[in-house]
Symmetry: D2
Subunit: 361 residues, 4 copies
Amino acid sequence: MRNTFGHIFTLTTFGESHGEAVGGVIDGMPAGIDIDMEFIQSELNRRRPGQSAITTSRQEADRVELLSGVFEGKSTGCPIGFIVRNTNQHSNDYENMRNLFRPSHADYTYFEKYGIRDHRGGGRSSARITISRCVGGALAKLVLRQKGISIQAYTSQVGDIALDKDYSRYDPSLTETNAVRCPDQQKAAEMEALIAKVKAEGDTIGGIITCVIKGCPTGLGEPEFDKLHASLGQAMLSINAVKGFEYGDGFNSATMRGSQVNDVFVPSTGDQQPITTTTNHSGGIQGGISNGQDIYFRVAFKPVATILTEQQTVDKEGNATTFTAHGRHDPCVLPRAVPVVESMAAMTILDYILLRNAVIL
Amino acid sequence: MRNTFGHIFTLTTFGESHGEAVGGVIDGMPAGIDIDMEFIQSELNRRRPGQSAITTSRQEADRVELLSGVFEGKSTGCPIGFIVRNTNQHSNDYENMRNLFRPSHADYTYFEKYGIRDHRGGGRSSARITISRCVGGALAKLVLRQKGISIQAYTSQVGDIALDKDYSRYDPSLTETNAVRCPDQQKAAEMEALIAKVKAEGDTIGGIITCVIKGCPTGLGEPEFDKLHASLGQAMLSINAVKGFEYGDGFNSATMRGSQVNDVFVPSTGDQQPITTTTNHSGGIQGGISNGQDIYFRVAFKPVATILTEQQTVDKEGNATTFTAHGRHDPCVLPRAVPVVESMAAMTILDYILLRNAVIL
Amino acid sequence: MRNTFGHIFTLTTFGESHGEAVGGVIDGMPAGIDIDMEFIQSELNRRRPGQSAITTSRQEADRVELLSGVFEGKSTGCPIGFIVRNTNQHSNDYENMRNLFRPSHADYTYFEKYGIRDHRGGGRSSARITISRCVGGALAKLVLRQKGISIQAYTSQVGDIALDKDYSRYDPSLTETNAVRCPDQQKAAEMEALIAKVKAEGDTIGGIITCVIKGCPTGLGEPEFDKLHASLGQAMLSINAVKGFEYGDGFNSATMRGSQVNDVFVPSTGDQQPITTTTNHSGGIQGGISNGQDIYFRVAFKPVATILTEQQTVDKEGNATTFTAHGRHDPCVLPRAVPVVESMAAMTILDYILLRNAVIL
Amino acid sequence: MRNTFGHIFTLTTFGESHGEAVGGVIDGMPAGIDIDMEFIQSELNRRRPGQSAITTSRQEADRVELLSGVFEGKSTGCPIGFIVRNTNQHSNDYENMRNLFRPSHADYTYFEKYGIRDHRGGGRSSARITISRCVGGALAKLVLRQKGISIQAYTSQVGDIALDKDYSRYDPSLTETNAVRCPDQQKAAEMEALIAKVKAEGDTIGGIITCVIKGCPTGLGEPEFDKLHASLGQAMLSINAVKGFEYGDGFNSATMRGSQVNDVFVPSTGDQQPITTTTNHSGGIQGGISNGQDIYFRVAFKPVATILTEQQTVDKEGNATTFTAHGRHDPCVLPRAVPVVESMAAMTILDYILLRNAVIL
C-alpha cells in the first residue's frame, strides 16, 4: 500500500520536490528485455518542466540513473533502483509557505496527517514526484512494445476548447507535434492561445486527457475488486489534480438504453481474434476483463492550485492571513501530464499481463 | 488482489449467481463492536431483488448467517465468515446461454480468461455477488456510526431525468421513501415512470448515483498511489455496470480556472475542526488526504446488458447466432446499487481509518 | 496479512473451535482442475480428531462443503468458499476457562490484544482451525499431482524416540500404516506406546515431523525476502505448537566446513534436468530458489499445553488461582499435524509455481 | 512480495554486489522521529567488510545517503529512499565465474529462473545486499529505542565451540568487545582462533546467532498465518546462508512433556505488566502473540559456499569443469551477520507494533 503501485510489476517511489533526489524501485520487470536508455530519457523529457512556453519555467535536466537490475544492457529480473537528482532548488522561494496552508494544496492535509511537512515546493505532494512514474512507465512500455501493445494519450480538452470527435478519428502521431499534445492542430493552436492568456493573468486552467490502448490481449483483469478498468481508474485518480475517470461511454451511459449500447459480437475475419464486436461502447473491457477491442478512457484534471494572485488562508496557529505565490507557476498541467497518464496505463497493463500469467499452469 | 478488497479491514468474497451460496470473510473488524444483526439484514434487504415493481422479480430471502468472529454479541477481532444461501435458482432458464456469449456481458471475457465458465445467470459476474459487499459494508457502518461518520448515497439521475441541485440541497432522509431511492419526490416519480416504461419495452436504462460522506476526520488517505479518492474510485469502478467516477467538481473542473475552484481556508468557529474552507470544490480531499469537509462523489452506471429483445451474437465455436433473454430482467440497477455504493464507501473509509492508526506510534 | 496465506494461490480462513463453523476462501485456484471431493474429504479425515486411540477423543465428522468456484466437477478459476460445521460442541465444558488464562495457551495474549476472547476450547487459537488449511492443501495437491510433484510428511521423532536415518532411507508409503504416521514400523510402535503412557498420565509430549517434496521444478522462490525456504518456514511456524524449522542440513550446518557441505554440480544423465548435484546438503534450495533436487525440512512441535493435572495460573482480575483441565486432551499433536504440514507445503509450492509464471512473458 | 519486506513498515531493496549501488526505500516510517545519521552509519559499519582479521578483506566505506523522507532532521512520514555506492568493484576477478555455476551458490538457480544473471560477485544473491537491511533496521531501532524496546544478537556458536548457558546469563554489552561478537570473552577467543585456522585453510565454517528482544509490549502478532514468531522466522530465513530457526525451547521441545514446559502465570509485582510467567519456555510468544516476556530465538548459519580449493562443477552448456575461487573469501559470516539479524528483528517488531495499532479504533 502507500508508496507502491502494482501487484507483480510494482513501482515504489520516494522523493520530494526539493529534497536530494526523486526515484524509486521497479520490481517484477521481466528478465531479458533490452533496456533502451535513450527511450527512457526521452519519456522523462516529455514531462520535464521548461520544455515549452506554456509550462512551468523550472529548469531541470531530469537525468535518470539506473542503479541495478540491468546487466550488459538487458534486464535481469532483479529490482531496478533509479534516481533523478534535484538540481534547480530555490528553497528560499518557499519560506513564505513554511507556516501557512496554501488553498487547495496538500499543505493542510499533510500537516494534519503527519504533524510535520516539508513545505518546500509542496514537498512530497509536488507534481515533480511523477518523474518516478514516467521511469516505471517507460520500462513497462519497452515490454509492451514487444507484445505489440501501444498506449497513446493526448490532450482532448482545455477549458471550453474540446475535441468533438471519437478517438478513432484522430491521428495520434500528431500528438507530439505541438506543445499542448493535441492531435488536432487547429484545436491545439486554440488551446495554446488560451493557456498563454491564462498564464499571463497568473491563473490556471483545467482540461481532459484521453488515452487509448491498442493491441491488448483478451483476458486481462481480475474479476470482482481488481477489474481492469477499476485499476486503471485508481491509477489515473492517483495522478495529481485528477478529479474524474470514465471509460468507454462513461458518464454518457447514464442517459442510454441497453438496446443502444450493447456491443454485439460477430465472427472475426482475418485477424488473430476469433471474435470481435461491431461497436465498442464497452471500451474494450467487459466484466472487468479485456475483450481484445481498443481500451479507451478519459481523465479530468482540475486547474493547478498555484495562482499568482493573493488568496485568503490560515496559518499553522489557525489565524487568518493571506498568501501570494511568486516566481514560477504552471498554467496548465495537461501537456506534461500526457506522459504520466500513459505511464500509469502502461504499468497497469503490464502488471495485469503478468497477473494473468500467474493463473495459467 | 483478485477477490479481496481493502488493506487492514478486508473483505474476501466468493460465490456465483446459481451456486450453493454467496459469502465471504471480513478480516480486520475491530474488536468489541456490538453486532446488530437486524441492521445487517436490513442493509441486505435494501439490495434484495423483488423489493419493488421497478427491480428484477427474482425472489430471494437473502438471509445472512455469520459463522465466526462474534462472541456473545460482540466482534472479537477474529475474521467474520458469512454465507447467504442461494434459494431461487432456475438454472434451466439459462441452458440457452451455455454455448454462446451474451452481448456486453462477461460471458466471452470469462471464457477467454479461464477457458471454462459457469453460464448460469452470469455465474461469478452476476450482480448477485454484491450481497457480500453489503454484508461487509453493514459491518463497517456499525463501526463508523460509533465515530459519528455517516455515508449516504442516492439516485441522482436516471436516463435524462437528473437532480439539478447540489447534494447539500437535498434531505437524505427522503431517499428511502421511494423505490428509486431519490431524495426529490417529484423527480423520483418521474424516474419510476421512466423505468416502468423501459421495463415494459424489455429494455434497460442507465443513471448516476451520488454519495456523500459526512463527519470524516482529517488525515485519511495514503499519498501517492492510494489517495483516498483513488481508492474510492477503484471501489466504485469495481461495482458491476459502473463506467465512471468523479469527486468534488469532477469533470466540470476541466472548464474551470484555479481562481474559481480553489477552496480558501478560514478559521473555524465552534466545531471541533480548527480550520475549515469557505467552499468545497475539492470534495473533502486534498492531495489524496481528507481535510474534514464533506466528501462527495458521483458514480455513472450503464444500462444493464440483459434486454428482452433478440440480439445477434456468436457461439463458442465462433459461429454467428442470435440470443433472446427470457424471464426476469432488471430495467434499472440503480435503486439496488445505492446500498452497494454506500457499502464500498463505508469499507474504504473504515480501512483508511485503520491504516491511519497504523502510522501513529 | 492476518488471516490470509499466500500471494497468488491464497487461503483466507475463519472460525473458532466452538462457533458455528470453520471454513475459508481459496483464491487463485487454476481453472479446469478436476475437483476430487473424495480425496479432499480423505485429507480432512487424516487430521480428524478421534481417529485413533492416541489422539483426542473429540468426535467430529468434519464434512466439508464447497460452496463456489466449482462447475460440473471442475474448478472455474473463481474463489472456492467452503465450510465445515462444528457439531460436537461441549461449550459448557469450558465455563471454568471463561475468567482465567490457561498456562502456555493463547488465552492471555488474545485477551491482551483484543480485550475480548471466545474462551470455548481456545476459540480462534484452537488446533481445530487447521481444518481449513487441510482443505486448501488438498486442493493444492490436486494441482501438484498433475505436475508430478509429491509432498509427504511423517513423524520422525516423539519425545526421545527418533528415526536415525536420512529421509531417503524410508518408504513413505508406510506412513499411513500406523496411527502415529511413522514409516518405521518398529519406531512407530515405540512412539505409540510412549504416547499411550503419556496420555494415561494426563500429560503430553512433543516431537518432530519431517517433510519431503519430490519433483519440484527449478526456479521456484523469490530472492531476497520471499526465499522459498523462508516462506516454507513461515508456513510451518504458523502451525500451532511449532517451535522450530530447519531445511537441508539445518542446525547441523553450524558445525560444518564449506568443504564438507558444498553440493557439487555434475551433468545429469537421462532425466529431464540438465544438471544435478552429487549431494543435497542444500535441501533442494540455493539462494532461496529451488534447484530441482528433493526439498526436505524438519518441523519441531512442543507438547500440547492442555494437561490434566492442576496448574497455577491467574484470573482476569490478576488474582492467583489454579486450573485443571478435564475431559478430552490430545497427548501428542504430531499424528494429526502430519497432513497439516503437508497442506502448508503444498499451498506454498503451488503459490510459488504461480508466482514464477508471473515473471515469464 | 519479492523485494519488499513488511506490511506497514516496509523495506524495498535493490542492488547487486558489483552494480552502481545498493539501496532501497523504507516506507511507513513514523513521522517526527529524530534521524540520528551517526547511529545509522555505525550500524552499517558493524556489517562492513574488512572490519577485522576474521572477515572478508573487501574494502568498502559503505557510506549511506538518505535521499528523502527526512526534513530538518526529523522523519516526515514519507518514504525514505537511500543508496550506498559500490566502490571496490574488482569485476574482472569474476570473469572465471561468467559461464559456470559455483557449487552451493545461487548461480545455477538464478540462471534457471531468469535465463540471465549478473555473475560478478554473486550479483543480487551476494551478502552485500544485506546493507539495505541494516539501514532499515537502524531506522526501526531509532523508533524502538523510544518505546524502550532493545534488540541484541550475538554469536553463540562457531563450529563446535558453543555457549552453553541460557541467554540471560550473558552480558550483551560485551558482544561488541571482540571481533566475533560473542559476549563470552573466553569462548570468543576460541572462536576467533578457529575462524583464523579455517581461513588459513581457505575453508569456511558455520555457526549460530542468538537474538534477544527485551521490553516488547503484549499483543504483537497476527494470529493464524502471521504469528509473530512465524514472521521472525521468515525474516531470519531470508538472510543468506541461514538453514534453521527456533524460538523459546525450539527443537528441544520435541523431547519434553507439557508438564515440564508450560509457563505458569503469576501476578506481577511492581512492573507495568499485570501478569508475568515464572518460566519462559515459550520464548515470549503464545499463540503467535507476544506476552510481554523476553523474546529469544536462535538462527543457524551454514558455512559460506566460497572456498579457495578447487571444486568440480558444470558450465552453462552442461559440461563438467572445475572452479577455484581466488582473491577474497569470508571464512565465517556470523560476526557480520549479527547486525543483520538484529535489523530484521527490529523491522519485524516495529511493523507489528504498527499493525497492532491498526486494529485499535
